[in-house]
Symmetry: C2
């Protein structure tokens, strides 16, 4: 009955699922490009709005295109009272990612033509999602901390407005740069689990709300979106910079995994981690609080030791998750809000992937190898 | 710079992603087994509760195990007032699948340990989801039709209670058999798009609410869950049974796709379609309304013609979606509720797959082939 066992591609490791021109991750050389532009250029010279435009449209905008795009984003930042209510109900008892997933799923009710899959209509929905999911994420942080909702401030750029809506304080110029950096670095990263789950959902021609809701659910998992929070927890557990080496060495001896090190694709230093690291060093010069100073010192000492122990020998290098937490702490952001920021920025990449995939859609329908029995005899319950 | 182009597995066609002992679909011979038991035996001799137990635990229950399982399901049918409220808000303006996705996503807030992934804890959450998502689906149908919520009736079995909560009428014995048949037939079908999307989300170790929410979003797409509704729309468009042959022939000449025919896996008659078909014939003997009688006649005449034209020559045979719509109409169920029934019953299969996958979890992280440029020069916006 059974044919010989086929190759099973667990985790789809090494399997190509699509052709794409959105981003290239060169894991061997530690390079990353969005639409052909290096992440270093974009991090230093662009901003999140322009990067979103680039990812979606495949080219850098002219001034006129940029202005129109930014105008749309600003006009759509506000979220409806019903969305705020659901966030308020859920935020005190559920994980922020659960709240954001539910609220994003609910956004579909304000779209009177959600199934319009024409390219321009799809892009328009993606712009709405980029605009509103940041507000949803910030509102989740507010209600979670039992604080009141802060309306968007259209005098601010996209990511600094997010930081303002979350913290209630107008960011300094340096903080604005930091949050925008994190939004840019998290905007896109090819078919990782969450982006792939967006495509699986989109491949049935379900709408962009359904697809991005899948992405948010997938990003919640600790093997994916939660690594930055886990890395920060470790640094908090280390507590004092002078404990760093002892803690790490003991963890390695106990075969504990150090979160924020190693990556399925990067086999060298994650280029995003390098960028975050440089801003960590700059943050140290800006008179941080004692807590933050300790964290930054722990992060840098742990990195040095880990590279000595594992980098050149085992190809296990820091990834962005290792340094993200300390940098978020520079901005006063709590650990449970890290993955929500990932969501808010990745909405640009997810949207771009949906637009691209629908140009040449193919339903995702893999196979399983069945290893159970067949033709078992059904016995009535009395006879079992 | 570019290496040679790798094989790209669009839609993951022919790619095995996992080993499983939950269900075997034999597409060449038109057979289907759940945990080794033929779908024909289960459809005739079992019921949805027992099938759910079988899928989850991998064996048929003893009487005691069955009674405990059914008791848990009954105790958990009721949905919280906040869930009812969100359904009431969304149902008048959003597609039922959007409503059910959002409400299911929200269920996580009533679980005080959603991230407990121990097998027994996972199964317990799956039981909760099977119990409540049926109620969510029925409530969505009620509020959509501007009718009031109907509380579960614990004197009724799982699927007949669903039908009662949806229609407000206690089902006849025949109707109870029909709805239970549809729940059994939709409970599981290996790694189709929605089940696979559940696994992609679960593979990050996100919780069962996140994973099943992805499944619901994926099932919404017209290439997946909506085919039964689309097939019914065609039958309604045919209107009079005597128009059937002319309509189908013109559609085929115009290269229109006939929904409910052809399947990625079944290359012969879908065994589930055969079962539904036999109940359609039985329904014709039960004095159906004129509308339903016409539909049943259209379905059977269309099937005959399609098999003559496409079955033996092109391997395009009826699948379950072709006959499901007319049978749902026998029960008085509206088209937009067909996919929600699919969700309510597939919750058993999705849950079983999560339990199984977590025994040997592997993060799903495929690759894309990058076909764009690299190292483009960033020009400032003024210079574009």
């Amino acid at each position: 009955m059974m044919s010989s066992k086929p190759t099973i591609n667990y985790g789809l490791e090494g399997i190509y699922v699509d052709e794409s021109s959105i981003s290239k991750v060169d894991g061997q050389n530690g390079k990353l490009w969005y639409r052909g532009y290096s992440i270093e250029d974009l991090a230093e010279r662009s901003n999140f709005e322009e990067v979103s435009y680039l990812l979606i449209y495949g080219k850098l905008p002219t001034q006129k295109e940029y202005d129109e795009f930014v105008k749309k984003l600003k006009e759509r930042r506000e979220i409806e009272p019903e969305i705020r209510n659901i966030i308020k109900k859920m935020a005190p008892v559920a994980h922020p990612m659960d709240v954001i997933r539910t609220a994003t799923s609910m956004l579909v009710m304000y779209d009177n033509d959600p199934n319009n899959r024409a390219t321009e209509a799809t892009i328009d929905k993606v712009i709405t999602l980029i605009a509103k999911v940041s507000t949803i994420a910030a509102a989740t942080g507010r209600f979670r901390a039992k604080k009141s909702y802060i309306h968007p401030d259209n005098s601010l750029g996209h990511s600094e407005n997010f930081l303002y809506m979350l913290t209630g304080k107008k960011p300094t110029k340096f903080e604005s740069k930091l949050i925008d950096l994190m939004f840019i670095l998290h905007a896109e990263h090819s078919t990782n689990a969450s982006t792939f789950s967006v495509l699986v959902t989109a491949s049935t021609l379900a709408d962009v709300y359904a697809a991005t809701t899948s992405g948010i659910g997938t990003l919640k998992g600790p093997l994916h979106g939660g690594a930055d929070e886990a890395a920060l927890s470790m640094m908090n557990a280390i507590g004092n910079p002078d404990n760093t080496e002892k803690y790490i060495e003991e963890a390695l001896e106990g075969k504990q995994r150090i979160m924020g090190f190693g990556h399925r694709v990067y086999k060298t230093y994650d280029p995003r981690a390098k960028l975050v690291r440089s801003y960590l060093e700059e943050s140290l010069t800006k008179e941080p609080s004692d807590e933050v100073r300790r964290l930054l010192q722990i992060a840098l000492r742990a990195e040095k030791l880990m590279i000595d122990k594992l980098g050149s020998t085992k190809g296990i290098w820091p990834n962005i998750d290792f340094f993200a937490g300390p940098l978020y702490r520079v901005m006063g952001i709590e650990g449970q809000m890290f993955t929500p920021i990932f969501v808010a920025s990745r909405m640009a990449g997810w949207g771009s992937h949906i637009v691209e995939y629908w140009h040449n859609n193919k339903l995702v329908r893999p196979l399983e190898y069945y290893s159970g029995s067949v033709d078992l005899k059904y016995t009535p319950i009395e006879a079992r």
